[in-house]
Structures are given as C-alpha cells and as structure tokens.
Amino acid sequence: MEKPANTVGQVKTEYFTFAEDDDEYLILDSGKRFGPVTVAYETYGTLNTEKDNAILLCHALSGDAHAAGYHSENDKKPGWWEDMVGPGKAFDTNKYFMICSNVLGGCVGTTGPASINPHTGKPYAMDFPVVTIGDMVKVQKKLMEHLGVQKLLAVSGGSMGGMQALEWALRYPDCVRSAIIIASTACLSAQSIAFDAVGRNAIISDPKWKGGNYYGGDVPAQGLSIARMIGHITYLSDRSMHEKFGRKLQSSEKLNFDFSSEFQVESYLDYQGTKFVERFDANTYLFVTKAMDYFDVPEYYGGGSLEKALDLIKARILILSFTSDWLFPPYQSEEMLDAFVQAGKDVSYVNIDSPYGHDAFLLEYELETRLIGTFIDATYNNEMFWEEKW
C-alpha cells in the first residue's frame, strides 16, 4: 500500500524494563512500592548530539505508544496522532526527536493489570496498584533517562495526555522547557468523574468481570463496550452528533417498533464499543480512569491553590482548548491560564472554535499544527531572548 509521503513510515514498538530489583522499585504516589516495570515506547526522528530536541508525546485514555507511522507494510491504520507527527508536521520529525510511550497501567505493552505478576505467575488483575498520573510520569522519566534525555524540549498531549504534560512541568520543572496542554485540565470536574464512574460501573457489573479475574476466559465485553459508548458520547458534541447522524436510520426507511439498533447513532456506538473490546483491557479502563479522577494539581501541589501549584513551573506553556468540548470544557483551560498569568508565567492560550467536541484535539490539526509548530520552533530557537525573566 502506498503511504503518504509525510509519514514517519514503518515504525517498531520498543520495550524498556526497569525496577527489577527490590531496591529499585518505583515508589507510587499511594506509597506502595512497585516493580518491575516494562514500558512500551516508540521514537521518531533523531536525537541530536546536544540532546536538546526531544519531545515527549503523551497519549489519552485509550491511546498507546504508537503515535505515528505504520507497524507493517500492509498496516492500514497509522498511529493515533498521525496527523500531527511526522516530517513537516506540527511535531516535525525532520527537526525533532519524538518519543511516545504507553502509560503505566496500560494494556499495549507497558506493565498494567493484564501483565503477568512475576511474584505469582498470574496476571495482576485487581492486585495491580492504583496508580496516578504522577506515577505514569515517573515511568516516563525513567524512560527519558534510559534514552539519554536530560531535558525535554516539549511535553505534549491532549486530554489525559495534557494532564501528563502538566504533571511533567510540575514534577520535573528543570527537565521541561515547554509543555503543550491540549483539551485538558488541572483536575476533572464532577461531571467528568461521574462519566468515568458510570463507565467503571458498567465494567464491574458485567458478570464476566469476575472481580477482575477474567484473563484466560471471556472478557467483560458488554461492560467495557458500554463504557466506551458513554465515552464516545462525551467525546462528541450535540452539534457534531447532529451533523454526523441526525435522526437517520441505519438500514431501513421506517421504524421497526422493536429494540434493535435502528438509529445510525446507535449502530455507531455499537460499532465503537465492539471495536474497543478487541483492543483494550477492561481492567486498564478501570485503573486509567481512576488515575484521571485522582489527578488534582491544586490539591497535590498547591495545598488547594492552583496558582500556588503552577508557580512551581519553569516551562513555557501553551494551552489549547476547543469551544464545543464539554468533557474538558474551555473554562477549565481558562482557569489554568488565569492561574498561570497570576503566577507570572510564560503562558499562551488559544480557544479553538470547533464543532467537534472533545475529539477536536485529534481533528483540528490544521490550526493546531500552525500553533504548536510555531510554539515549539520559537522555544527551540530560543527566540524568547527574555526567557530568564519568567
């Protein structure tokens, strides 16, 4: 199959394992010690000799280390951020060295609840510790050290990826030159936690979930699929759903007067649910949504004050939000912006006009490319000759 010219082309997922010895275990935010950890990652572009052109890309809830390119000759589906990562794109692999890894607790190569617990020889399942966004970032930091990257030119991600970018700038202020936080927040709203809770309840109440010990047998497909359906509703917007589906029926001209999936929007959700079950682990969904719910920057870093928390940051910041995003609404980005301004930080913000809801961060790539590309170039070229001011 002919691949578009501006792709990173064929890529391979790599693996790095650490914390194998008891005394090197990762100390989690919960206080628990955990190891060993394997992290799945991909890299695109070349790390220069000064090692100052590395950019870490952080994925959202259902993403993985495969941000760009194709895994094989016949691979039809590129990585999750293909529109933004590649030669001449927002994250320009001609200039910069891109790294993307699967999060701790994930299910696409990095240690998570489906991984085998070396101490028992069985999958961790619910014995996997509750991890936080901070723990995910600690694992990424280990990976950076492994790759020889001391200071990142940028950390970027959308949604939960944006949380990680913010966490990086807070936890390792001297290791991040800029953070690009897209469609994200410093802490989830009650509404978003509520949606996560419903998703988790759908999984847990599936009889096939069996307390999380379903590995080797039937997976809780129904529960996970419902969780994904709810997720998808929250990723779209009233307007984008109306434009995409309206009240159109899937296969017949008239109503059936039964309870099959008649409306196009219903079959869309069915399809998304089923497709998700094939590639995602239900327990990972529980752990990762929990990590998002726990993410609370003002509480963890500022004793309740967002401004105090953000005052720790030394990185330049670019915040992007989308007008129709109601899962991570613009007001949350604006709260962050205001706290950054109040703390006297180098922060830029654009609320992009888009009808696509939360998903816009993956779709509005044309404007995002210009904004992000410009921001990264300016940071890299050190054109902000007054950098030391901030």
Partner: protein, 212 residues
C-alpha cells in the same frame, strides 16, 4: 475564539507612539498589551525596557506571529472583558490605538486599571483641528493618516477627543499622570491647545483608589 472577523486594528505609524510609551514604562516590570497585534510594541518594550511582556490579540494570524517571536499571547476578544484577570496582576496595561475600536471603552479602561497598577492609553485625537475643517468644507467624513477609513469600513466605533478623554477620566476616578501629544512627528508633554493641535494622545493613567 477563532473567528474570521475581518476587523482591522488601526495601525497607523505603529512605531510613532512606541518611543513615548516605552518612556512611560519602568524597567523590569510586567506589561500586558491589549490588542497587541503582531507583538511589535511588546517586542520594542522587551528590547528597550527589559519588561516581561504578554499580549492579548483577537486575530489568530497575528497571535501566531506573536508566538513566532516567543511572546506569550492570549487569543481573546477584548469586547468580552478582562474579568478573567485578577486585581493588580500587571504593572502596566497598554491600550495602544485600540480604545476607539472596542465596544465598551469605558468598561475596558476601568477594567485595565483594576488588573494593572498603571494604564497607558494611546489614541488618535478626533479633536485635531483639521478634521472638523475637512468635514465642514468637504461635507464628507474626514480622513487623515490617523483616520484612513471610509465611513462604511472603519473599525472606529468610539471616536474620542482629548477633551472627551479627560472628562471621562475625571468622571470615573481615573487620574491622568502624564499626557503626551504630537503635532509633528515627535511626542511632547503638555502641548498648548492640545485638543485642537494634537494628532494623537498618549496618557499614563491610574485609578485614584490606587494612589491612596
């Protein structure tokens, strides 16, 4: 919000008021430029006064130019106000050639003096004697270097004279600390008959409650 609003900001002789604005600003302070355009003034202030500069701009293309220069910029419509910023966040808030194009210049001026200790307002003076003469003799909306627009495409919705400005300040507890005018190319303080003779005005203002 990104909009394709074709509204132009008046950018007559961008550079002309830079020098006088810069002269009014203390070194090493924090400056917010309202309607910063492509960041030319901020760049000038950063170079001449070593300030920490940040801009607000509604035009997305100009916003991107600011980013290119490494200037922190917020893509925001000034007509939606500045309520998002807290009191006394900035040392200076600059409104350069923007006063006359916003919907609520009164609210904006009071708001800028809430979020900053000082305000600097630079505007073209509609009281300049040639303008009414042009109107009188030609019977058409007067045009000049400062007012280059036709009636149907002007972004200026709140034309103001120096006298109007002074009256407004007085009525609203705003103290004019310094006022600069230009007759020719140079700005100078206290031009006699400024309201008639000056083409532009640059004023350093604060709110009286901040002087207490």
């Amino acid at each position: 919000m990104v909009s394709n609003n074709p509204r132009k900001f008046v950018t007559i002789d961008d550079r002309l008021d830079f020098g006088v604005i810069s002269a009014l600003i203390e070194e090493d302070t924090w400056v917010l430029d309202l309607g910063c355009g492509s960041g030319a003034l901020l760049e000038y202030l950063i170079k001449t006064k070593d300030v920490k500069g940040m801009g607000i701009e509604i035009n997305i293309e100009k916003t991107i130019v600011c980013m290119k220069k490494g200037i922190p910029v917020i893509h925001q419509d000034l007509n939606e106000g500045l309520s998002n910023f807290k009191e006394d966040t900035f040392d200076y808030c600059v409104l350069s050639q923007t006063l006359q194009v916003v919907q609520h210049p009164d609210e904006l001026m009071l708001d800028m003096l809430r979020i900053a200790k000082f305000g600097i307002v630079s505007f073209p003076n509609f009281g300049y004697y040639r303008l009414p003469l042009k109107l009188f003799f030609r019977g058409k909306m007067p045009q000049s270097k400062e007012f280059p627009y036709d009636w149907d495409n002007t972004p200026n919705i709140h034309l103001v004279t120096i006298k109007d400005f002074r009256d407004f300040c007085k009525k609203n507890g705003i103290v004019i600390l310094k006022e600069y005018h230009n007759y020719g190319e140079e700005y100078s303080p206290g031009l006699t008959l400024a309201n008639k003779r000056s083409k532009n005005c640059v004023a350093l203002i604060t709110h009286e409650r901040k002087l207490k």
